[in-house]
């Protein structure tokens, strides 16, 4: 038997049906015309019939079975043209659907293609090429221009411009040199690097992202679950209707036509196809959606709560001002740093870094009896003197009166500073103001979100009220809740969700895990090594910054709209086809044409989502 692929089958049956049509118009239904029409049905139908039989073996009725039944019926009642047209249109439709589906899914495929395929490692004194999974931890990987970095690791030698689009969605190449991190799946555009492998194979950031994207595509949205159960009942119901009509009206042609339109194909794929296009678009822009339902939710959200440190701010506090009383600034910083070196608090790190910078090198000296008092500060002994470093609470606890410094503290805090007081038994020696820089894009983002209709934006932070207020003010947020413990954040989120219908929480995922999990929608600033955030959140902004949040909101809205359009269009088609067939204005081949056409239109509509950012970007520039 001749074996054709799908494309050849479509081409040959197209030729056959065209000739049949000409013969029919020219000669009428002569034996030669009929023979040609039957050949068309056979050529186009053979794979349909085969599938129908395979399914029947398991007593399952699929669309192939229905089409086969309709074609056999049509031939039996002498409607040869209908039989040929239906098989041809069905085959053509399937072929076009497969092609367009392929294109819709291609943006995700393109991402998968970024997976590295070889690794050049230094082994046994030479250079060996192995597959990326075979690289051992700690091995030195050599990456040359144009090659993909096969592991996550630290650069130990070399200079290069690296395109990190695979991990961050950012296409501008970044300069990378010794001591800096690079990621698997990113590409060296120029230069070369020697990288010490820290994560390989399935543990690399890229592999994790790929895994999440794969899972997300088929994470069914609510609408989809509903439609699938609808389709499950619709098809048997229509078949029953066809049988009833046959018994009541004795009109075989009508009953067969009903069979042809009984599978609501456009309806079944209306949601998944929009979702795959949306998720693909997001992934290309460094936004990871964990499924269709997440897009539906983000599209509907009107209130967003932000974490402060690491989300609205850079998350790297620095010393901005030192004020001293009877001691020079460097000495104050040095003595403070000697004690703070024992603390892991980010503010302590800021003081140590500043002291080293001003000292021009590491600080010498040993502190003794270091006590860390959580939420207050530390105390320690240095050269026989007791030092106290911390906030108001620390000194209030010790019964000191810091009333005279209150005005200074408040004025600093109003400017968004966190002030650390340093004292000995003799009194306060000085004040160190520390601030975290607000991310450059934060204010712009808030403005854009507001323009998109996000009416309520708040900040949740554990920091002091005045500093929080200052940051909320500069970024243009509606409100801020400060001095919160993690469980307070959860309570406030519940209240806000109650007031605004639903709420999204944006955080960097380390200390915000409970908040991210308890919000209707958790959005994590993810990327580089922030695995916990990536796993717990519903949406991950891969670039490590919040700028893309407004794009994510816009894309989600576009996806939600796209799904709605697809569903309403598909429902409309189902309704019209059914009415048309019952009123006998739609016959078998027209019914098939409309059915296949509607499936294609739904896919094409979803493809618009793949192009989402391109259109809006143009409009903005």
């Amino acid at each position: 038997m001749l074996k054709w692929n799908q494309k050849q089958t479509v081409q040959i049956s197209a030729l056959l049906i065209a000739v049949s049509f000409v013969l029919m118009k020219w000669l009428g239904n002569e034996p030669v015309t009929i023979a040609l029409m039957l050949t068309t049905s056979a050529v186009a139908g053979v794979s349909i019939f085969k599938k129908a039989i395979a399914a029947l073996r398991y007593r399952i009725i699929g669309i192939d079975t229905l089409v086969t039944l309709a074609v056999i019926g049509a031939i039996a009642i002498g409607e040869y043209w209908e039989a040929a047209a239906v098989t041809f249109l069905f085959t053509l439709g399937n072929y076009l659907e497969a092609r367009t589906l392929e294109r819709t899914r291609s943006s995700i495929r393109a991402l998968m293609d970024l997976a590295p395929d070889i690794a050049r490692v230094r082994r046994d004194g030479g250079e060996t090429v192995v597959s990326p999974e075979e690289v051992r931890l700690g091995e030195v990987v050599i990456v040359k221009p144009g090659e993909k970095i096969p592991v996550d690791g630290t650069v130990i030698e070399g200079n290069a411009y690296v395109n990190q689009a695979a991990v961050t969605g950012e296409a501008l190449p970044l300069s990378r040199k010794a001591g800096e991190m690079v990621f698997s799946g990113t590409i060296i555009e120029s230069g070369y690097l020697l990288v010490s492998a820290e994560r390989v194979g399935n543990n690399t950031t890229f592999a994790r992202i790929m895994h999440l994207v794969e899972e997300a595509q088929d994470n069914k949205a609510k609408a989809q679950k509903f439609l699938e159960s609808f389709a499950r009942y619709y098809t048997p119901a229509i078949m029953l209707l066809a049988a009833l009509l046959l018994i009541v009206t004795r009109d075989v042609h009508l009953a067969l036509t009903i069979l042809v339109i009984s599978c609501p194909g456009a309806l079944v794929i209306s949601t998944p196809i929009s979702i795959v296009a949306g998720i693909g678009n997001g992934a290309k822009h460094g936004i990871l959606f964990k499924g269709g339902e997440v897009m539906e939710k983000l599209g509907a959200v009107r209130a967003i709560a932000f974490d402060k440190t690491g989300t609205l701010t850079e998350g790297k506090p620095t010393v901005t001002k030192v004020t001293t009383y009877g001691i020079d600034e460097l000495t104050l910083l040095r003595h403070t740093a000697i004690g703070e070196a024992y603390s892991e608090h980010p503010l302590a790190a800021a003081i140590v870094a500043e002291a080293r910078l001003r000292n021009g090198g590491p600080i010498q000296g040993m502190a003794e009896q270091v006590r860390i008092i959580t939420g207050q500060g530390i105390s320690f002994l240095y050269q026989g003197r007791a030092y106290y470093v911390g906030n108001r609470k620390l000194f209030a606890h010790k019964g000191w009166n810091t009333e005279e410094y209150e005005a200074y503290l408040q004025s600093e805090e109003q400017q968004g500073q966190t002030v650390i007081m340093v004292g000995t038994e003799a009194g306060i020696l000085g004040m160190i103001s520390i601030a975290d820089t607000v991310r450059s894009g934060a204010a712009k983002l808030v403005t854009r979100l507001r323009a998109q209709g996000i009416s309520n934006m708040t900040m949740l932070t554990g920091d002091n009220g005045r500093a929080a207020q200052a940051i909320a003010g500069t970024t243009g947020l509606d409100a801020c809740y400060s001095e919160l413990l993690p469980e307070d954040k959860v309570h406030i989120l519940k209240r806000l969700a109650h007031r605004h219908g639903s709420i999204a929480m944006v955080g960097d995922g380390v200390n915000d895990a409970p908040a991210l999990a308890s919000a209707d929608l958790g959005i994590a600033i993810g990327g580089a090594g922030k695995d916990v955030a990536m796993e717990t959140a519903d949406v991950v902004l891969m670039g490590g910054d919040i700028d893309k949040l407004s794009y994510a909101v816009g894309l989600s809205r576009a996806a939600a709209r796209n799904i709605k359009q697809n569903i309403s269009f598909a429902l409309l088609v189902v309704g019209l086809l059914l009415t048309g067939v019952l009123l006998q204005t739609v016959d078998m081949s027209i019914g098939m044409l409309i059915h296949e056409g509607s499936v294609l239109l739904v896919i094409l509509n979803a493809m618009r989502l793949s192009r989402y950012g391109r259109i809006t970007n143009k409009r903005e520039t």
Binding site: G62, A98, E214, Q217
Partner: protein, 71 residues
């Protein structure tokens, strides 16, 4: 209970989902079967004592869908 995910060649028609899921859920020993349309994968939960994973793969092939790999 065992899990298995089969990678099929691209599934393009929407009715394939119902067909494959229907066939598998009627098979003895299979608890749950889910066709993932966008990735063309089938995830099956089954009792290894009653059916084997290769048996499930063969059944899918017999229905007319090529199985590229099982994992």
């Amino acid at each position: 209970m065992s899990h298995m995910t089969f990678q099929l060649e691209t599934v393009s028609c929407p009715s394939c989902i119902n067909k494959i899921e229907g066939m598998l859920s009627k098979t003895k020993g299979i608890q749950r079967a889910e066709v993932r349309f966008n990735t063309s994968r089938v995830r099956v939960e089954f009792d290894g004592n009653i059916v084997s994973s290769s048996g499930i793969g063969a059944k899918i092939e017999k229905l007319g869908y090529r199985v590229l790999s099982g994992m």
